[in-house]
Structures are given as structure tokens and as C-alpha cells.
């Protein structure tokens, strides 16, 4: 989500100085910090101490692969409902960081 939302919504963070991730998309880089929030509620599900990626060059919050990776999710766009639960599946291989927009990641420490 946009890093500005932390201040706009007065969202307290559980941890400080978490690692940042540098993303490069179409040769334009940006830093996304990892922020741990007290809880994230979607529908009737609440996850405590949830890690969220915040970045300064995005303007919308979105449910990304971090949300989908360990869940079974049914997106019914026809009837405007989404259903989800934790997946029973066995973890697959880590993958190759393949995305439509060519990207590469690097982790840095924030002093």
C-alpha cells in the first residue's frame, strides 16, 4: 500500500526499522518497506502482526501475491464476492520471480 497511508490513517507499527526491498520495474526503481501492523481485517478474518509492503511510488493499496500465496481464494467477480481460507497445499518450489513487468529485487538494511 502507499507509504503515505501510514500517516494519513495514523496506523501504528509493531516493529520499526524493518528491512526494505528495492524493486525495479521497467527500469524505474522504488523502495518498498516492510511494515508490521497490529492487525489486518478482511471480511470476518483478522490476521495479527501482519507484514505489509509499503512503497512511495504507488497510489493504491492492493492484495498481492503475499496474500494469495498461502491461501485458497475464490474471486467471484460475477456476483461480487470473494472467499478465502488458508491452503492445505504443500509448498511448491520458490519460483523465479516471474512477473509481467520485468523486475528484480534486492534487500537492503535501513539504518
Amino acid at each position: 500500500m502507499p507509504v503515505g497511508w501510514l500517516a494519513d490513517y495514523h496506523i501504528p507499527l509493531v516493529k520499526k526499522d524493518e528491512k526494505s526491498e528495492v524493486r525495479f520495474n521497467l527500469n524505474e526503481g522504488y523502495i518498498s518497506n516492510i511494515a508490521t501492523v497490529e492487525n489486518l481485517t478482511i471480511g470476518d478474518d483478522t490476521e495479527k502482526n501482519r507484514k505489509i509492503k509499503v512503497a512511495d511510488k504507488i497510489y493504491e493499496g492492493s492484495l498481492g501475491l503475499d496474500f494469495f500465496a498461502d491461501k485458497v481464494v475464490l474471486v467471484d467477480a460475477v456476483n461480487s464476492r470473494m472467499y478465502f481460507r488458508k491452503s492445505d497445499g504443500v509448498s511448491q518450489d520458490p519460483g523465479h520471480n516471474l512477473h509481467f513487468e520485468t523486475s528484480k529485487n534486492a534487500n537492503i538494511d535501513v539504518k
Partner: protein
């Protein structure tokens, strides 16, 4: 889009009995048909689905953050001969960073997924060449809302499975949903905002909207 939707629905229609068990074909069933496919790639990859375009195998990403079906040329697939520069179907699209990019609307003879063919499918050809591949498939593009919004789509990234359900509009059958989800599950409403999907969320009690479901990091 309506042509695309009609074509997809036509391809899917009548397949339910092959996959969906007979007891689900009850009087109040909301499901018309379903198709399952194995996802390619791994857990750090945007979900990738195997398809065939004009009978050539390829892989396409899946994301609700894109509107059409976008493809690029690759070493094994070239769409340039399908481009008509004089056509009104040559135009521009906005990329992720809001920059204009030249693109062409093209029509392919067949677009196949899950073993079923959609004739005369409309795709958008972007500039540049894709050099990615996964499990032997050239990764040539991405499938967006024009396709995904026609279905209820079940993603199980961990089990590498995706299922497309053709469902009735305005229909909800909790028993079917429970059967599909296979355990205790949560539900939330989706709002369509300019053809993009929004989900309401609360972070530490503060209400906000996640304005799309891109299935993308």
C-alpha cells in the same frame, strides 16, 4: 468484450458434466460449467497458466490489474503478420507507470485454455519481445479482466491449481461455495470500480480499500 465473453461462454458451456459431480447439478446450482488447469511457475511468480494460441503452446500471467489480454512477440511466437497498421485497432495503451505505449489489437484464430478452444479471440499486441520462459513454455503476456471477470476463479497457488467456474449472475449457493472451498472460509464483498475490483479492509481498525486484486507482488 461482449464478443469475447460470448465466445468464452460458448466454449465452456456444456462441459459441467465432465467435471462437476452430478449432485452439484441440483435445482439451485449456481454453476453452469467449470474448467481446471495446473498453474506453472512457483510461489514467487505471478500465477501463470498454460494456453495455446493458434495451436502453439505458451504461458500467460493472470491478473485483475490488467484490462485486456496483452501479448508480446517471443522467439517462438511472432504476431507481427496479424497487425494492420492502417486499422483503427492500432492505438496506445498506458503502461504501469502511466506512459503511453503503442499497441495493436489483433485477432487470433484460436485461443485455447484447459483444452477448450475460443475462436477469433481478440488480443492486444504490445511492443518489445518477451524473453521469459517457464517449464518450456514461452511466457508471452498476461490475461486481465476482460477474461477473468466472466468467471468465478478459484486460485490455489500453493497447490498450483486454478479453476474457472461459469456461474449464474445474482446467484449464491452456500453449500456449493462450502464444497468448493473445502473447509472453514471467510467471505468479503467485492466492489467494481471502473471495471477494477475493490475489497474493503481494516488495518488496526482503520477502514480503507484495496482498490484492485492484482495477484502480483
Amino acid at each position: 468484450m461482449s464478443k469475447w465473453k460470448t465466445s468464452v461462454s460458448g466454449a465452456v458451456l456444456g462441459l459441467c458434466c465432465l467435471w462437476w459431480p452430478p449432485e452439484a447439478e441440483a435445482r439451485h446450482s449456481c454453476i453452469v460449467a467449470s474448467i481446471s488447469e495446473t498453474l506453472l511457475g512457483g510461489q514467487s511468480d505471478t500465477p501463470l497458466m498454460p494456453v495455446k494460441i493458434n495451436n502453439q503452446p505458451a504461458a500467460l500471467f493472470l491478473s485483475y490489474d490488467y484490462e485486456s489480454i496483452y501479448v508480446k512477440n517471443s522467439a517462438s511466437m511472432n504476431f507481427d503478420k496479424l497487425v494492420d497498421e492502417s486499422s483503427w485497432e492500432t492505438g496506445y495503451v498506458l503502461n504501469t507507470f502511466g506512459k503511453r505505449e503503442k499497441a495493436h489489437a489483433i485477432s487470433v484464430k484460436t485461443f485455447s485454455f484447459g483444452g477448450f478452444n475460443v475462436p477469433d479471440a481478440k488480443l492486444v499486441l504490445l511492443k518489445g519481445e518477451s524473453k521469459q520462459s517457464v517449464q518450456g513454455f514461452p511466457v508471452i503476456g498476461i490475461i486481465g479482466n476482460v477474461f477473468l471477470n466472466n468467471f468465478a476463479v478459484l486460485f490455489d497457488v500453493k497447490s498450483r491449481k486454478i479453476t474457472f467456474f461459469e456461474v449464474k449472475d445474482g446467484c449464491e449457493n452456500k453449500e456449493e461455495i462450502t464444497k468448493i472451498m473445502g473447509g472453514d472460509f471467510h467471505a468479503v464483498n467485492i466492489n467494481a470500480n471502473a471495471n477494477r475490483l475493490e475489497v474493503a479492509a481494516r488495518i488496526s481498525g482503520r477502514k480503507m480499500h484495496f482498490s484492485s486484486i492484482p495477484i502480483w507482488i
